[in-house]
Amino acid sequence: MRIVVAVKQVAALDEEFELLVDGRSVDPDYLEWDLNEWDTFSLEAALQLRDALDGDGHEVVAVTIGEEEAQEGLLACLAKGADRAVRVWDESLRDSDVLAVARVLAAVIERESPDLVLCGVQSSDAVNGATGVALSGFLGLAHVAVVKHIELDGTTVTVQRELEGGLVEILTLPLPALLTIQTGINEPRYATLRAIKQAREKPLESLSLGELGLDHGAVAAAAGSRVVSIAHPERGEGAQMLEGAPAEVAARIVEIVRDRMTG
């Protein structure tokens, strides 16, 4: 069985940052990179599914679109137990929107002929929540989004889909399938730096668009939107801040609560 996990190295923004001159993106100096939190859960889910299978020859493959920083994230995946990793990059992908990314991911994943594809529900920087399902559209896979529990039985998957308000839907679907994974489904394991260093010995492929049979035109055509500009949001008045020692603050809070709760 082959399980592919699509992961993303996401950027965390410092409170003070600067935009690039063209006003369309943030100066990379102000970004710190880390593996997307949701993807740690989907990778862990993939590893647990693989380890529960009988027999040999099952593999977990981590796939990402990204440049140098993304290598770290893939190494972490390999260190945690993924068997192989694939990274795709082309300069033209720098500003890609969710559909363009999904298009390229689809090309990579198609080569792998996976039985199961796992994605995180969303990434913490772009928060589109769409890459996984868009990917299933390109790959033509049966899919369920926002999964909090997986049971694999042969070629049928039973999942729990997490709905608003804490409601859960239980449904089944056949393999091959794609699932987007929600946080809290498991406890992602820790990869020591030693393990990450040793992971450099594991297979990590770097591919260009050409090697995937894609060109800039195909990717651009798949794109669903384009960023015109980014800007600081309008701040409202913001909160009225309560100052003083904890006792004073607590007293003020009690006052506010009493006032609002009566009448």
Binding site: Y190, A191, A195
Partner: protein, 698 residues
């Protein structure tokens, strides 16, 4: 009756038939044989550990080491520390036993070698009398020492001799320790009986033989008095019986040494001789080996032979148990019990032998390992040189490798990896604390400096500690020291990351710091963070760095003594000083802060537990990144209570940023905010040096 003079002697084998002599020698040789086998067996056991070199120390160094061990043993310095009664009593026992043992060897040499081979003997006359006198004296010493120890155990019952363990609950299989207690009493009791029967035998002989010089063998003489009326026949029977009883007991004891508590006589000596004095300061890197060999200790075969040897050296003295801050505050860790648990596994291995994991519910538990603050109080006080905290660290390395760590700790390690600091702040913010200063702090990466100041995480990011950091900067600026910092080139020093067991992350951080520092030009490095001090001074050299590293208290003392900083307002505070683990006990620096306090005019009231016995604030070993169980007393609260019990002390002085954080909090949570205040030493200096009321305290 025999007379005095050169004929003063005693028969060795009085009234022994030849078959009896042969029997005796056969038994004695058998006992020695068992003893030798018993000594060889543990050596073979120690060699099953592959985590370190064999021999633990190159053979060429052994003569010097063994001699050093002998000197240490002779002075009994490590045994007398913090327990003068035990030290004195053990000296009596040790010297008593040694002298009596030597006495037997001297006698045996004469009887079994000199006389039969060369026909001469020295065992008579003045020599004999002196010999007997000395043996009586030291035999008495032995008995007194043993009695003191027995009274201690039975009546005084000091807390550290309580074998109740904090890492097992009542009803759990390894909870009960009465076999240890029985073993202790058998050991002490056997020695006492051997000594007493020896005196009794002497008394019976004197009563029978009436040699006339009995006064010199005073104990024997005393014993002989009540026996003076007894018939020779009875005395003879007694003498035979006592001789065999005493003799058999003695050789049984000798044979049993390697199998009982008595073994500590040998293993403790070897452990002391081979001990690693740097163990407190410097952890061992992962030894080279196959890449898939997991790091640290999981099973006994992963241990270094030296550590396996140390397991056998433990005498259950309880000093580490008493010194451990985790144990003192009710946490499930006692260094003594970690060592004893491991020893049990080594001596009673399961079906998988030394390949079986020692970590688990039936071994050393995870909660035990994570409770450790790596303060090294255990290593410091152990009289026989056991490295409890480094062993715990090795076990942690395996847990980390297997991902078995508190989720908060895991998150912090990931944060440190991502941002280079434990606060999760963007690395650009590392130098932000300088913004409030009225002068610019030079960037050591861009210009040469005299002092490269390695600030550290807490000192850079924690708001309360930043006040101290700015105070240090102001004092350095005032005294015109050419200093600079690394700004965002600095990373967490990795000291605590290493003590958590994440070697790979430690190496990564250390390498980044070394790379950044190597680009700079400076005379020496100064740090206000003792944890960073330890890493930079003692552990970075493992990776090739070699710099002079000082603590800020040393630099400030120099500035005060040389007059570059002038005390304008002599302070009259009554203060107490808390020695931080990494500066005091671990790096041996106690005097600079005390000298400064003196120069400022303050009165120092020492904490009851001070210097090498200082009580950890609870932040070390990664504990500051693991939340405490609510409702339990924290080590820092325990320490503050100790401080407020001192008469009229206004200020609790610290010299470590983590202490600042922990004790400011503990003063509040223990309800002592109106009784004592915290000051970092630099803040006191500023109060004394700056002409007007300036930034002081919280």
């Amino acid at each position: 009756m025999l007379s005095l003079g050169s004929l003063a002697t005693r028969p060795v084998f009085w009234d022994f038939t030849t078959p009896l002599r042969v029997l005796w020698y056969a038994l004695a040789i058998a006992s020695v044989g068992v003893f030798v086998y018993g000594c060889w067996r543990p050596v073979r056991k120690w060699r099953r550990g592959h985590g370190g070199p064999w021999p633990p120390v190159p053979w060429s160094q052994w003569p010097a080491r063994l001699w050093g061990g002998l000197k240490l043993l002779g002075s009994h310095r490590t045994i007398a520390r913090r327990d003068h009664t035990a030290g004195a009593a053990h000296r009596l026992i040790f010297y008593g036993f040694m002298v009596l043992f030597a006495g037997t060897v001297i006698l045996g040499f004469d009887t079994d070698f000199l006389t039969p081979v060369f026909g001469v003997s020295y065992f008579h006359g003045t020599f004999y009398l002196a010999y007997k006198e000395v043996l009586n004296l030291f035999g008495t010493a032995l008995v007194i020492g043993l009695l003191v120890m027995m009274v201690r155990r039975a009546i005084v019952r000091p807390a550290k001799l309580d074998y109740a363990r904090p890492d097992r609950a009542l009803g759990e299989p390894q909870f009960d320790r009465h076999t240890y207690e029985i073993g202790d009493w058998v050991f002490v009791g056997t020695l006492l009986v051997i000594a007493l029967t020896g005196f009794l035998l002497e008394g019976v002989r004197i009563a029978m033989d009436q040699p006339g010089y009995g006064g010199t063998q005073f104990v024997g003489w005393l014993v002989a008095q009540p026996l003076s009326g007894v018939s020779d026949a009875t005395l003879g029977g007694l003498r035979h019986g006592l001789w065999w009883f005493h003799g058999l007991l003695a050789i049984t004891f000798v044979a049993s040494i390697p199998f009982t508590k008595a073994m500590h006589m040998l293993t403790a000596y070897v452990s002391l001789s081979l001990r690693d004095d740097t163990a407190k300061r410097q952890l061992a890197p992962i030894p080279p080996g196959p890449a898939d060999q997991p790091a640290g200790y999981g099973a006994l075969e992963d241990f270094s032979p030296l550590h396996l040897l140390q397991l056998d050296a433990c005498t259950k003295c309880g000093r580490c148990h008493e010194a451990c801050p985790a144990n003192a505050t009710g946490r499930p860790l006692s260094p003594r019990d970690v060592i004893l648990e491991l020893r049990e596994h080594a001596n009673h291995p399961s079906a998988d032998g030394f390949a079986a994991s020692v970590i688990g519910a039936d071994g050393v538990r995870q909660e035990t390992l994570w409770a450790c603050m790596q303060c090294q109080a255990c290593v410091e006080i152990c009289p026989v040189g056991i490295e409890q905290a480094p062993i715990i660290n090795q076990l942690r390395r395996r847990l980390v490798e297997e991902g078995e760590l508190d989720s908060n700790l895991q998150a912090t390690l990931q944060t440190i990896h991502k941002s280079g600091n434990s606060f999760g702040e963007n690395r650009r913010k590392r130098g932000r604390w300088t913004a409030e200063l009225e002068f610019e702090v030079p960037d050591a990466r861009k210009q040469p400096v005299e002092v490269l100041w390695f600030v550290g995480d807490y000192a850079s990011f924690d708001p309360r500690s930043q006040q101290v950091t700015r105070a240090i900067a102001r004092l350095l600026h005032r005294s015109q020291v050419a200093f600079g910092i690394l700004y965002d080139g600095e990373r967490n020093s990795g000291n605590d990351v290493r003590r958590v067991g994440e070697e790979g992350l430690f190496e990564s951080l250390a390498q980044q710091n070394i790379d950044a520092i190597s680009e700079c030009e400076f005379d020496r490095i100064m740090t206000s963070d003792p944890h960073s001090l330890n890493a930079l001074r003692n552990e970075y050299p493992q990776l090739g760095a070699a710099w002079k590293v000082v603590h800020h208290t040393q630099l400030l003392r120099e500035l005060l003594e040389s007059g570059r900083l002038e005390v304008r307002n002599r302070l009259s505070h009554r203060v107490t000083y808390h020695d931080p683990c990494h500066l005091g006990r671990i790096n041996g620096e106690y005097d600079d802060p005390r000298r400064i306090i003196e120069l400022l005019g303050c009165t120092l009231v020492e904490m009851p537990r001070n210097r090498d016995n200082s009580f950890c604030c609870g932040a070390g070993g990664g504990r500051i990144w693991i939340p405490d169980t609510p409702g339990q007393e924290r080590p820092s609260e325990n320490r503050i209570r100790e401080a407020v019990a001192l008469p009229d002390v206004e200020l609790f002085v610290v010299t470590c940023p983590k202490d600042v954080t922990m004790y400011e909090d503990a003063i509040k949570t223990s309800g002592n905010a109106d009784r004592i205040q915290l000051r970092e030493l630099t803040e006191l200096i500023e109060e004394a040096v700056v002409p007007q009321p300036a930034m002081v305290g919280a």
